[in-house]
Symmetry: C2
Subunit: 460 residues, 2 copies
């Protein structure tokens, strides 16, 4: 069991600064732990309450009739060092300090005090000035954002770490809205103790995490960070979005985190060299990990496009070539095969257009012909609904069969015409076919698979 396990699988949690007032951070955290069904014991701590949300409340941490594993501290900044001390004396191995009011507004001395206590007792600290952790599988949630305000995503295979809490909650909203899931989410704020390097190494060992995604403005320790990426990338993909890639962006980072970000181009080159995968937009940060979680790496540049909409297919080809992929024509042998299996009026080639008469069977058979030809490194599907043959249920079954039988990555783009189709798409994605709402986003996801392919090939 890793040292940071205490943040995700504690047997007991003390919420120090629990509150009866539904507006207060210390109330929301307690409520979320109850709502999510936290499987361990929960001890609210507040000298002015006997009971909060049906749980017995303790005046001080020392009054808790048991050891605690994890302390979540939601107190005024100047009260946090003594609270951490008390928690440590009760056996806490970890503490999440959600309170703000530290170095981000010039109170560096409070962080020094907090760090001293932590070091003295060997307690690991996430924060301060952070949201903490959310893990729907282990059922822990210290985010002080009510579920009604920020609805949480389902359990999934991608873990996210983020320096910015507001960006983190925005990401959760996007992920939820797109029907996607999350394994572990950590907002680590001022990273007094636990930093991005620690978290990446921890997630590298975590069996529930298939892909790590990190939003980074600046790192505490550059060498440690790159080392963590190098080690983690040998086991699973690490996706990095660097905030502050431009000169004004860098200036904004310095004002946001108070720390020098360093030369962004050098940082990004180092991430690549360490085997990490770089993305540059919010959509890519969410989209690329979804592809990496289910698809194999991509080991070449040739993409086959299979569509049932001509114009959409053309935009996909443009998007792919803009990303440096090659949409190469099929060999004569493959052309013959395609012509034999499809009606004579279908435009075959690359792209192959299955037209408005398309059926899921044609997607499966033609897709397999592309895969089995050995002429392509990835398959790009555009199954548009809204034509009679594309019955959603059957499309789901046969496209998933295609993914199952393919030895190269498969990604898809389509626009959900109705809420029924949208549900089918979410289900398909969950079961293994990454699906994006535009050809450009699907091409960007494929580019992430290509980056990972390069990383894997290099480390062999």
């Amino acid at each position: 069991m890793g040292e940071l396990d205490v943040f995700f699988k504690p047997r007991s949690v003390a919420v120090i600064g629990a509150s009866r007032n539904p507006e207060r951070v210390g109330h929301v955290i307690l409520k979320r732990l109850i709502e999510i069904g936290f499987p361990g014991r929960i001890y609210p701590v507040n000298p002015k309450a006997d009971e909060i949300l049906g749980l017995k409340c303790y005046p001080r941490v020392s009054d808790i009739p048991d050891d605690i594993d994890l302390a979540v501290i939601a107190l005024r900044a100047d009260l946090t060092p003594s609270a951490l001390e008390e928690a440590a004396e009760k056996g806490a191995k970890g503490a999440i300090v959600v309170s703000g009011g530290f170095s981000e507004i010039g109170n560096e001395y409070l962080e020094r005090e907090l760090l001293e206590v932590a070091k003295k007792h060997g307690v690991r600290v996430i924060g301060p000035n952070c949201l903490g952790v959310f893990d729907p599988k282990d059922r822990i949630d210290t985010l002080f954002l009510p579920e009604e305000v920020i609805p949480r995503p389902r359990p999934g295979e991608v873990s996210i770490i983020t320096q910015s809490g507001s960006l983190g909650s925005t990401l959760l909203t996007m992920i939820r809205k797109e029907g996607r899931g999350i394994s572990k989410f950590v907002s680590y704020g001022n990273r007094l103790d636990v930093d991005e390097g620690d978290l990446i190494l921890y997630l590298a060992e975590d069996d529930d995490t298939k892909v790590i995604a990190a939003y980074i403005e600046g790192v505490a320790d550059g060498r440690k960070f790159m080392d963590s990426i190098r080690k983690a990338s040998k086991r699973k993909p690490v996706v990095v979005l660097k905030g502050g890639r431009t000169s004004s962006g860098d200036r904004a980072v310095r004002s946001h985190t108070g720390s020098l970000a360093g030369r962004s181009d050098i940082f990004q080159a180092a991430v690549l060299q360490s085997g990490g995968i770089l993305v540059s937009t919010l959509n890519e940060f969410v989209d690329v990990p979804v592809a990496l979680a289910t698809q194999p790496p991509m080991f070449g540049d040739r993409v086959a496009v299979l569509t049932n909409g001509g114009g959409f297919g053309i935009l996909a080809v443009d998007a792919l070539e803009m990303r440096g992929f090659r949409v190469t024509p099929p060999s004569e042998q493959l052309m013959r095969k395609l012509r034999e299996m499809l009606p004579p009026y279908y435009p075959v080639g690359n792209p192959t257009d299955l037209t408005g008469d398309s059926t899921p069977e044609q997607f499966l058979e033609t897709g397999l012909a592309f895969v089995e030809s050995g002429e392509y490194d990835a398959l790009f599907l555009i199954p548009l609904f809204g034509v009679p043959g594309m019955v959603p249920d059957k499309t789901e079954r046969l496209l998933l069969e295609l993914v199952e039988r393919s030895n190269i990555p498969v990604v898809a783009t389509t626009v959900p015409t109705t809420s029924e189709v949208e549900e089918v798409l979410h289900r398909m994605e969950k079961r293994g076919l990454p699906i994006y709402p535009t050809p450009e986003r699907a091409a960007a996801a494929l580019y992430g698979l290509r980056q990972y392919g390069r990383s894997v090939a290099r480390s062999r």
Copy 2:
């Protein structure tokens, strides 16, 4: 009244090939005309039915006891020339031939026959092999896609013309899904007669169209097309998405439309020179017109960013600078003013971060300070919800007031946390503030306003 008015405001429509079978194109078109509340008379034509969907059915066009304005022809390709002849003899000024089976599968001779009839009688023809027109304000809809399959968007201010029908229906789905509206939609297919140049000139004169958006694979007549853009751009923005910008994309265009697209780079340069606005992704094709419909052109490169989420603000700055904008620091005078109006712990500058304590009032006052300083050419807002002060209703009112009082373009990006917030966002956008789900998409929309600013400045 323009010659093409007959396609949008006919007094009567004959649906030639109307069908009792709900699966047939001729049924769906009739049903949609009834559902949308077409204000003129509708005459179904089918020799084998007395009545369809409650309307008296006529065996032949010549049996209709009245003149007709518009014929919608949904028959087998080889039957369309004689149907057009009959319609013309009944006074039809326009015909939409939705049927496929013409040049796209090698039957050029049928198109020649159709064109001969059209010229002989002076009937304008949209199609063949197209979806035809949709206009929710004038209440006409010839798209043979049931509303259950492709839900239609509300009336709006942007008109779209598209060569590709499948791309067109995808666009309608995207627009509807994002709560946006449409003025006129035309899928013109094989453009036997009415082409993109005719449509752009018509829409330039149309008071219900504030922005024209054209998806183009190849044009029938390059000079006519560029002339139409030059003329239209003097009155309103014309946004062009060229399918087939890359070498493989161009190959796909040739296979899709059967016509040579010509050098894409030359085409795009000509569009720009004619005052058109170029976009390169599906999202931009939908997003840029929304900004152009409500915001003034942008006449410089300086953008002020006002956010209540630090990380989101940094990604916005990156996205803006990647587009060539400058996120310049405020003057000392403006800095003093910002510091006076905001709490001391807010990071002011560009971006200014209103933090989790932000209120709509602060967005309004700070936004006005940026606008009134004269130091910026556009205002970029990031109002994240999910913090207590950002009450949706009040945010809506005050941000719209900010737009109202601003003399430079304002765009926003935020992520709808709940369906209530999503509705508020749709309403705000409808009332004048373009809102996008990612900073990158908002930056791309602003870039459209900048392109239009250059076009306007050049033509002065």
